[in-house]
Symmetry: C2
């Protein structure tokens, strides 16, 4: 892992890094300290610096003292697409053009990308934990929406370093439900109640499937954007409770 | 309204009061200040000093600076029962003895009690607001579970002083759904995901029916008791946001 840029503004140190084929970014407090680590998984079609992800990362750094890492998923954010990526992107575009639902295509594609992303996240986490300011002692949180949720599920099932996950909405299919049943990590899951793209019943079925003994569903009126301030704050408190310095 | 007792401990001033037939209790910070008012509605079969209600009241006073009022519902807490109360209590006992579900009986009875409780709460609120430390200027919050939810719905529909409501689980029937549709007050609604007494689908239908533009559903793993600490804290923050001093 090597850092390719370092800038800071408004209390946030931003460092871009490269690890093999993986491109990532790390946000941390400009005043060094014992900041716990959160991993942020972006949505399908987005990248490590998706506006909502960056806004949440800055908030978690400045208001709650976390360090946040994001990487571009395979086939995303300028990373090369393979045949699976090209086929999926073409299928999504075709369905959109025909006015057909994209849920099933996106769900299948998300699972494909997430399977490839898991070893990359694990390698990234190894590298991040080799940094002296992060270290290997502390539990790690994971937050994500859409593709980021699928990735988080598979990652948590594969890597016990993930101690808590905060999810936003995700397209649900049987493979996702099966993955959810394998998860035992504490989860907070946020869904919009009035968003035509996300089916409520599917969202509730996903929550129900989660194998975690400690899980919370937060449904809020409105659409998926903007995320209500109180939900962003709730997610930060959830992480502080599970992976924060004080354990409170 | 006159106060019949006054004690204080651990930073909480507790005053019992009587207003006509109504028996109530008021908890407030021992250090006087501009404490916003919350009304607390107890569950069916309980009373104004139900353990969970008292614990929440103390928490909201000491940790969040609220004043909290509770009253015994008609037919509850040592108040005389009328023929409706006697009939309902007998029916519930009979169903329990026969191992039959009590949901429908409890739902009907809660609506009957709540209708009688609303004018009592309004008179209590008038009296409370005539106290100099409370006054008429500030919005008022309402929290409740079970019967307390039914009462809150009818109270908020009848009295615009109720500016925010935080609810726990409630038995749902068509009359409750109809009442929920009339409500426009912001609501936070908490349900247990693994409680044999409360049907998830009914809880979600109730959330969906709420007419409020600003509403949140919080489902937590586990049963209805104990209420998770983070949910109690969430409710306090919800009230602070809507009826708190700073409006934050």
């Amino acid at each position: 892992m090597h850092f390719t840029s370092e800038t800071s503004s408004n209390g946030v140190l931003e460092r871009h890094f490269v690890l093999g084929d993986i491109s990532g970014v790390l946000w941390s407090p400009t005043i060094p300290g014992d900041a716990p680590l959160l991993l942020a998984g972006h949505a399908g079609g987005m990248h490590k610096e998706a506006p909502g992800l960056v806004a949440s990362a800055h908030y978690n750094v400045t208001d709650h003292g976390f360090t946040v890492a994001a990487v571009d998923a395979p086939g995303h954010g300028g990373r090369p697409r393979d045949s699976r990526d090209h086929a999926a992107v073409a299928a999504i575009q075709q369905a959109r053009a025909a006015g057909e639902p994209i849920d099933a295509i996106v769900s299948d594609y998300s699972m494909s990308v997430a399977r490839r992303a898991v070893p990359e996240w694990r390698a990234t986490l190894d590298a991040l934990q080799s940094l002296p300011e992060i270290g290997t002692e502390k539990p790690v949180g994971y937050g994500g929406v859409s593709l980021g949720v699928v990735t988080g599920l598979l990652l948590a099932a594969a890597d016990t370093r993930i101690a808590a996950m905060s999810f936003g909405p995700v397209f649900v299919n049987d493979a996702l439900l099966a993955a959810a049943r394998q998860v035992t990590t504490p989860v907070e899951y946020r869904i919009p109640w009035n968003d035509k793209h996300f089916d409520r019943a599917a969202g509730i079925a996903f929550f129900d499937a989660l194998g975690s003994a400690d899980k919370s569903l937060h449904a809020h009126s409105g659409r998926r954007y903007p995320v209500p301030d109180h939900e962003r704050a709730s997610s930060a408190r959830f992480f502080t409770h599970h992976v924060g310095r004080s354990g409170i």
